[in-house]
Point group: C2
Chain length 215, copies 2
Amino acid sequence: MDTNGRRERVKLHIYNKTDGIEHFHQDIELLYVLEGTLEVTSGEETVHLEAEDIFVLNANKHHMLNGSENVLFLQLSILYQTVSDVLQSGDVIFWCNSTNDKSERYEELRKILKVLLKHYVEMKGDTANFGHIALCYRVLDNLSMYFLVRTSDKEMLDEQDKFDERIRQINNYIRANYSQPISLKELADQLYLSNGYLSRFFQAELWDEFCGISD
Amino acid sequence: MDTNGRRERVKLHIYNKTDGIEHFHQDIELLYVLEGTLEVTSGEETVHLEAEDIFVLNANKHHMLNGSENVLFLQLSILYQTVSDVLQSGDVIFWCNSTNDKSERYEELRKILKVLLKHYVEMKGDTANFGHIALCYRVLDNLSMYFLVRTSDKEMLDEQDKFDERIRQINNYIRANYSQPISLKELADQLYLSNGYLSRFFQAELWDEFCGISD
């Protein structure tokens, strides 16, 4: 929140240290390493980012960041609802990890991030201007053009990912609609699940965690 | 509103005719004539726009548009609250009228509007994408950099304008805060007016109109 209570849809931070604490949030998080190295651990997997690497953490993905002593990185927190509203989908995932993919599309994204960073420095960190907002939306444009996962691509996901994915879908749907009461039936309809499946899902061990999420 | 109920903050329309009916709205309206001519009448004043002219109608300004038979123009409706939130001011006015000012800053704005228009045509009028939104914010960036009126410039406004201006301020303040109850005292404090002045203001003939506005 800024001083006016306005929640910025895309929020830029520059960090030179990490706390190493596992956490999660609905915001989509883009990380761009400027100096040093950064380890991103999510579940069993750890990704090692070096300078110029870009990585996107999707909504509600548990993660933990550990940077080297000289680490400097840019973080963009992207409000999930902004993306789901514009793309008109409750099911948005970006696959963006420059450590295992050296394609040119990362070069273009880096260029935009550098322009955004330059503008941010020139404005002395003031983000209450339309130039900054326009550049943030250019990042989102690039992400949605080149890194958005379509449903047909998802067959590659393994079973564990499918389960995680289901949790994300349900949580995202509730968040996107949480100003209105949602029945289990509506939720099941939206997510193409049977009412019975969803009831069982809610009776599983995730219930406690889920209650926490939807607080 | 689009089909999802999302109110676009900047909405682009292309028109090839006008209805000639006087109206007003809180949205700031940018007009850019592509072909033909367009007359914009606001109060006693009529501005004659030709191809390549740009004109901004400020929030709540009564106006009427009359185009030639071959008119083609772009209209950007800009949600007032978006501008007042980002600029952190309840008092935003743009002075943008290329018919009486031939300075280079209009050339830059025209360029951005042409890029926006090209993108819009390429996307076949689909505005639910981040590229379109980024370009709309570039227009807002240009407007706020080169066409925003600062309070110190306003001494040039004559008495009638000051009165119109006061109505706009009050209306804009109420709109920007209309989710919360507003007392006359708060309104007076925000607008640096005495409570008595504001009471008299509300008892004047504007009361009926004002009630309509704040519906």
